[in-house]
């Protein structure tokens, strides 16, 4: 894909009228209809955006997908085995550098990684910093409770920092992989992780028909929105509509599966599964793999040097 066929910027913008936080006008809660339409649009936006970034010319885009998937998987395991926050921070800095080298906007990359999951994790692990949950050496005393000294413990704070940085590094690695690899190439690369061919085929078709069925859902909900005057507040009728639309979607999905099957058979499908085989592994890919293995060993070695 060249720059002229890239998705225009206005299509990747969240639609103002659908924004449930009410950035224009009065703040109000979005109804379930608007939220579902918004969710569908966000999904589409994310997929379109990945397609664009994957076709850019950056460092990671040039690495062969099989090698990239295997190395990212290895780095994920290394990040999971690391036991010290400074090592995880160094790994996070390395993912930021990789993002820049792959032509991704840094602010976008940071936002995409941190928004929601690591921040959510931080809130969830907050109680674990107290001595009630993680006993240990109290560093920030908060008084006494029935004769026990309570406060924030060094163990609790380290545990919270560990999990937040670990989650951030893991998500950064996966986002890097997703944003720099076209989805069909990524699926073919799954064969490198010994995923059976049948699963790869099912996964690819599921991804393809996901967007087809998503259009159906968006149509149903847009029609509902068009028929509704004012706000949709009745919970019971709302639930009936959700159940009915999910049931109708199942009918359409099943009909689609039948049609797809007939189309496959008429094109000579006999039950034997073929998938797109990835390209050859070149010297650049070997270099990348060696660099990743070395990085993983440096991370784990540095971690060991900091103590158990």
């Amino acid at each position: 894909m060249t720059a002229t066929t890239a998705t225009p910027a206005w299509l990747l913008q969240p639609e103002l009228g659908l924004c449930p936080c009410g950035c224009i006008g009065k703040r109000r809660k979005g109804s379930f209809v608007e939220k579902t339409i918004g969710g569908g649009a966000a999904l589409m936006r994310q997929a379109l955006f990945s397609d664009d970034t994957a076709s850019a010319h950056g460092l990671l885009q040039r690495v062969e997908p099989r090698v990239k998937l295997a190395t990212v998987f290895g780095l994920l395991i290394a990040a999971a085995l690391v036991r010290h926050v400074p090592v995880l921070l160094a790994m996070y800095a390395a993912t930021l550098m990789l993002a820049v080298a792959s032509g991704l906007s840094l602010s976008f990359f940071v936002k995409r990684v941190w928004l929601f999951i690591p921040i959510f994790t931080g809130i969830v692990v907050l109680p674990a910093t107290f001595s009630f949950i993680t006993p240990g050496h109290v560093v920030v005393p908060l008084g006494t409770w029935f004769g026990h000294h309570v406060g924030l413990t060094s163990q609790g704070l380290t545990a919270a920092a560990l999990i937040v940085t670990r989650v951030a590094v893991s998500i950064s690695l996966v986002v890097l992989l997703t944003l720099t690899t076209p989805w069909n190439r990524l699926l073919g690369a799954l064969r490198a992780l010994f995923v059976p061919r049948m699963f790869v085929l099912v996964l690819g078709m599921a991804y393809r028909y996901l967007f087809h069925l998503l259009t159906t859902v968006t149509d149903m909900y847009t029609a509902r929105k068009a028929r509704t005057v004012g706000t949709d507040v009745d919970v019971t009728s709302g639930r009936r509509f959700v159940a009915a639309s999910a049931g109708a979607l199942f009918g359409k999905s099943h009909a689609l599966a039948e049609e797809v099957h007939m189309a496959m058979v008429s094109r000579g499908y006999t039950g034997e599964v073929r998938t797109l085989e990835p390209a050859r592994v070149g010297p650049r890919d070997v270099l990348w793999a060696v660099a990743c293995v070395a990085a993983a060993f440096v991370a784990l070695g540095g971690d060991r040097a900091l103590g158990r």
Partner: protein, 348 residues
């Protein structure tokens, strides 16, 4: 309930992933046997459907919305084996392309949501909907109950996985390396949310879709219910449960009576309150009533399930069991004999 990477140790993820391999193999083989070459598009579209079900926002009374997981619904519609594969594929797409749920944690997520959830939910659904027609109300309710139980079983598994982390994986100074909360925190926190809110939403959606298909599109329910009668009129007459089964159950229990011989201590300190080790529970008082009535009546044939002065305790225990059973059987026989006599007299 999608567990991101970093919450679980790689050991946990590896174990659960390895546990899923035979599940996937068996499920794939069974689906292939039933639907032949049609399985690829069926599973692919089923997986896409699963993915989209998780996107449906369901209104809940306070004006906000929530979403369901849908695994039990897919199990009811396409069968449990197809649900295992379809939900796994949907989870893989979410993890790989949309960053929802971890890539390393994929095995754990699949174990909770693609294995435990559809299978327990489907088992409950089968049990409750047994003997009902395809369009009966109980079948829709059974699907809802299946969704509720399935989601909570999955949440319990996730809570146990989280809760085991600080016990199994920590530094020498006690710093937890992964999720920091213990089982005593994770289980109440996860179960409260899922038993009260998420489970109810799952039940509403699952029952709602089944009841919609019962009204609007019964042939779609036929996909996984080939031999079920369509309406209540087509049902075969119900087979009555024979009373002999009750006797079999009671007989098994009677045969198990010697188990009481190996149990240590007394039952709840019923005749010796001092045997209750209340200190263990930080209690230091025997209830007044228990103290007063413990020695109230000792004029029985087999005091304390044995002979007088505890001679031959084993024989005494068994004899008292036999005598007890015999007395109860005689009492029941006397009741039915008397009833028959009364009926005969009144009809004559």
């Amino acid at each position: 309930m999608h567990i991101p990477d970093g919450y679980l140790s790689p050991e946990t993820c590896g174990t659960l992933g390895a546990a899923m391999v035979p599940v996937w193999t068996v499920a794939a083989r069974r689906v292939r046997k039933v639907v032949k070459s049609r399985y690829v598009p069926l599973l692919a579209v089923g997986a896409a459907y699963c993915f989209l079900i998780m996107m449906f926002n369901i209104p809940i009374p306070d004006g906000t919305t929530a979403h369901a997981a849908g695994a039990v619904l897919v199990a009811v519609l396409l069968g449990p084996e197809a649900a295992v594969i379809a939900v796994s594929v949907a989870l893989a797409i979410q993890a790989l392309f949309f960053g929802d749920g971890g890539v390393l944690a994929f095995g754990a997520n699949a174990f909770n949501m693609a294995f435990v959830m559809p299978l327990t939910g489907y088992a409950v659904y089968r049990l409750v909907s047994r003997g009902t027609s395809l369009t009966s109300r109980r079948r829709a309710l059974a699907a809802g109950l299946g969704g509720y139980v399935g989601l909570n079983a999955a949440a319990l598994c996730a809570a146990i996985e989280f809760g085991l982390q600080p016990t199994l994986f920590h530094r020498a100074d006690g710093t937890p390396l992964y999720a920091p909360f213990h089982l005593s925190h994770t289980i109440p926190a996860m179960m409260l949310a899922h038993l009260l809110v998420a489970g109810v939403i799952e039940a509403v959606l699952t029952a709602g879709v089944v009841s919609y298909l019962q009204r609007a599109n019964v042939p779609l329910l036929r996909i996984n219910h080939k031999a079920v009668a369509e309406s209540d009129d087509d049902l075969p007459p119900p087979t009555r449960l024979r009373w002999r089964w009750a006797v079999v159950g009671l007989g098994v229990m009677a045969l198990l009576t010697p188990l009481g011989l190996i149990a240590p201590g007394t039952a709840f300190g019923e005749d010796a309150p001092q045997d209750l080790d209340l200190r263990k529970y930080h209690l230091d008082a025997v209830p007044e009533g228990l103290r007063r009535y413990a020695g109230f009546w000792h004029h029985t044939l087999f005091d304390g399930y044995g002979f007088r002065n505890d001679a031959n305790p084993t024989v005494g225990y068994l004899v008292s069991a036999f005598v007890g059973i015999a007395v109860i059987v005689l009492a029941i026989a006397a009741f039915f004999g008397l009833r028959r006599l009364v009926r005969r007299v009144s009809s004559a």
